[in-house]
């Protein structure tokens, strides 16, 4: 019997081959059809029920193109065929089906998923350059030439969407140009303060900035001695937080909240420089002008379109923060400056030596996810005091959403990172002598200390002892201007600062 079949097959070899070929061909065609079918915009729309995605796509440059070619979902959101197309498609499909079945689209933070950080995960550079082969078309503008030239020199670190984030989904608030109008309210303010606050004792006061409508609260921070850094057994501790040293800090005043947009914009409008200052020949040697020359107009939207008002001012450079303090000192006749790292931590601790100034261990707040919900981890306490990754909705929040620490200060641990005046060194506390008074950190360095977590930080990174530092180059990576701004950071949307005022003869010290 078997032999018979064998003979038959041998005689009909050609037939067998043809049938096999036909089956293979059909399989290929149908698989391909299935792939194509599941890659149409309509099929994407079946799962992607968030309403804005198709509207914003239809308003975008990739929908209504000059050449009339319409760019569909998968052309950006999947890598090109042969460059990981299938694996990514399978992964994306699995993710989307899971989301569709087990989650409610209203629970997603779509705004967050539209940010650059998230977009990097679902927009593929290979897809961008797959179509945009020529980065220097004849129609490219002067600014485009400079920007693309910069890209060709930094191809490894840059993504197309660093600059072209909204080409696939229109955002009416996005601005990709010098923002000359930024912060202008139009019209002159009505009730301006004429005198700065008079301070005669070391007590809380409200500063009133002359010729502006700006006032803000300053808290009197008592002097004292505390252990800077964290013990080795603290959860999530980093090596740069030790060894702990006893440090003495003299009394000073500290702002209740991080510098707000209203405050910062008062400075900006009083000092803004129209021209740009450069570091090249000619102007290199110029220095020391009496009047304080403030920021040039920003590029794009420094506030990320989250709103101004009482939200912390963000994305200013260290230089801008320092210049703000100089200006504030000049107009109020007091000595405002950035806090030292020791002052900052002393104030943040508010007399405590625990990981946070409130009760709880870092791990109580980090196991909130799947396991946390099973085993009853709670975030109630931390939610009262800190704007951080789990509750921030991926942006800064206004200061009234949190309670103050024991010294009356808000948002020391979260919301936005804060500049300190010290140079950063990993072994800064190693260098510190025990019992030091008002230490100012290493004599030189390359990056400055930043303290306090931000809306992006997990619970482990909003501890009182957590240290971090500026990243000068990284934070300016995508500024398309030449030279890059010395006032505004293009790639750091979680940095702010808080002022301290010295308790000296100008503020009542005898």
């Amino acid at each position: 019997m078997r032999k018979k079949i064998g003979n038959f097959l041998r005689k009909r070899l050609l037939l067998v081959l043809i049938i096999g070929f036909a089956i293979g061909l059909l399989f290929t065609i149908y698989t391909n059809k299935a792939l194509e079918y599941t890659s149409t915009n309509e099929s994407c729309a079946m799962c992607h029920v968030h309403p804005h995605v198709f509207d914003s796509w239809k308003l975008s440059d990739h929908y209504d193109t000059e050449s009339g070619v319409r760019i569909g979902c998968v052309e950006c959101h999947l890598p090109p065929k042969g460059e990981g197309y299938l694996p990514e498609k399978i992964e994306a499909a699995a993710r989307d089906i899971y989301g569709l079945v087990f989650k409610d689209s209203a629970d997603y933070n779509w705004e967050q998923k539209s940010t650059l950080e998230y977009a990097k995960k679902h927009v593929f550079k290979a897809s961008c350059v797959g179509c945009h082969e020529n980065l220097f078309p004849l129609t490219l503008t002067k600014e485009g030439q400079d920007a693309h030239l910069y890209y060709t020199q930094n191809e490894e670190e840059l993504r197309c969407i660093n600059c072209h984030l909204h080409v696939g989904h229109y955002d009416p608030n996005a601005l990709h140009a010098v923002n000359v109008e930024f912060g202008s309210t139009g019209g002159a303010p009505e009730d301006v303060f004429t005198e700065p606050a008079e301070v005669i004792t070391h007590e809380d006061y409200t500063e009133t900035v002359p010729n502006t409508t700006i006032s803000f609260n300053m808290k009197a921070i008592p002097g004292g001695t505390f252990a800077i850094g964290s013990p080795e057994d603290e959860q999530f501790r980093d090596p740069d937080e030790g060894p702990q040293k006893q440090v003495q800090v003299s009394p000073f005043f500290m702002a209740e909240i991080e510098v707000t947009w209203d405050e910062f914009l008062a400075f900006y409008s009083a000092t803004a420089a129209e021209g740009r200052s450069t570091d090249t020949e000619g102007s290199r040697t110029e220095d020391g002008v009496d009047a304080i020359s403030g920021p040039t107009p920003p590029y794009g939207q420094p506030d990320q379109n989250w709103g101004l008002g009482d939200r912390p001012a963000i994305t200013m450079s260290y230089h801008a923060a320092e210049t703000y303090c100089k200006w504030l000192s000049q107009v109020t006749g007091k000595t405002y400056r950035l806090p030292t790292e020791a002052e900052w931590e002393f104030a943040a601790r508010g007399g405590t030596q625990t990981p946070y100034f409130f009760e709880g261990r870092p791990k109580d707040f980090t196991e909130k996810g799947f396991l946390g919900s099973l085993f009853g981890g709670t975030s109630d306490v931390i939610d009262n005091y800190v704007v951080y990754q789990a509750n921030s909705e991926a942006k800064t929040q206004e200061p009234d959403v949190v309670e103050p620490n024991p010294y009356g200060l808000k948002n020391m641990l979260g919301n936005a990172l804060e500049y300190c005046s010290d140079w950063y060194a990993e072994d800064a506390y190693e260098q510190l002598s025990d019992g030091a008074t008002n230490p100012k950190g290493p004599a030189t360095g390359e990056e400055h200390v930043v303290r306090g977590g931000s809306f992006k930080s997990p619970a482990g990174e909003v501890r009182s002892a957590e240290r971090d530092y500026t990243r000068t180059e990284e934070w300016l990576k995508t500024d398309p201007q030449m030279p890059k701004s010395m006032w505004w950071l293009s790639d750091a949307n979680n940095i702010s600062f808080r002022v301290v005022c010295e308790f000296d003869e100008k503020t009542g010290k005898k």
Partner: protein, 452 residues
Amino acid sequence: MSENNFSRRKFLAGAAAVGAAGAMGVGTLSSCSTGGSSSGAAGNYDYEKRELNHPPLRDTAPDGQELKAGIIGCGGRGSGAAMNFIDAGPNLTVVALGDVFQDRVDDLQHKLNEQKGVEVADENCFVGFDAYQKVIDAGVDVIILATPPKFRPEQFEAAVKARKHVFMEKPVASDPVGIRQVIAASKMADSLGLKVVTGTQRRHQHKYINLLNEVNNNAIGEIVSADVYWNGGQLWYRTNQPDWSEMEWMIRDWVNWCWLSGDHIVEQHVHNIDVAYWYMGKHPIKALGFGSRQRRVTGDQYDNFAVDLVLDDGRKVLSTCRQINGCTNGVYELFHGTKAMATSSQGGTARIFDAQGNDISTFEDHETSPYVQEHIDLVTCIRENIPINEAETTAISTMVAIMGRVSAYTGKEVTFEEMMNSDLKLGPDTYIMGDIGYIENAEVPVPGTKDR
């Protein structure tokens, strides 16, 4: 950034693949030779041979459809380039002229007729700051740019956007803003398949190419450092004339004005800096320079520079240049290798010699002048569609020279990156043939500060 820019790298990869396929086609699959060196002790240490991409170097350009050139900048070099272009081969002519001065245009129109029998119609002769655009639009195939370098970036971009092949003189700009404009336009030229040659004629000189081939065959070992010199006498200058406006004087006296020429380290010495970049395969990323003005008569430039240039691997190039009469002179390059030394100069014999000073090999000039050779190469590449675009390479060499100048002017160390991101733009914002109040504010730079 390496000398091989993005598009050229792509082209080379393509060429290598074609070459490999060809080799397989003739059945040399069993031969695993990777093309050993023709001289030198290959393999006694890790010597890495570079892939070089020389121009075609024919004795004359091949015949083909007539190529009509337009000359922008009809002074000495523009006139020379026009003649060199016509001499490069058959069916080459000049049909349009542009300059800011009528006498320059008239002179070249006359010379072309007298020496080459080429008649340029009066309606194709243009005068003024916008003459360049009229030349570009006059039905030409090739644009020759030979104005002072300050004007080059704008004119080069306009020529590329009009889809013209370009011969342009070095240096290609006098400031970083101009350099970036040239590099961007160069990338556009690449995508359009345009051919660009840039007046760094040593790259078209047989002697230099033969010497480099030997160096690349490990004849002197690894290049450890280089010295490059253009130390010569005073160049030339024009004193002011009563009927000249301020702008006319500056442009007629352009090699003495930094905004127009880039200073002599850029305008003249860029040749030698370019040879170092070419031979070493990468450009310096840092400069610390000295310089001063001792005997220059007009303008606002220095007349001597000495610059320490550093590559990203720590190797150094010493660059010195001077334009003062009565000093010891020399215009040449010297490469120090781990095994021997190599020296080259535009005139005379190029040599490889050992530590005792004995010649190992020598290289003589070819009968074709390098100034004609560069045009032969341009025309050959146009007619045979061989990729050639030197604009970005020369822009980088020019930028290295600018980096040296800025360092000498300021006394500070200057990086290439700083230059690539600098908004330094020299000269007036608009060009008017009149008194523009530039000279009264012009200053010769003084490095450093008076105070401590």
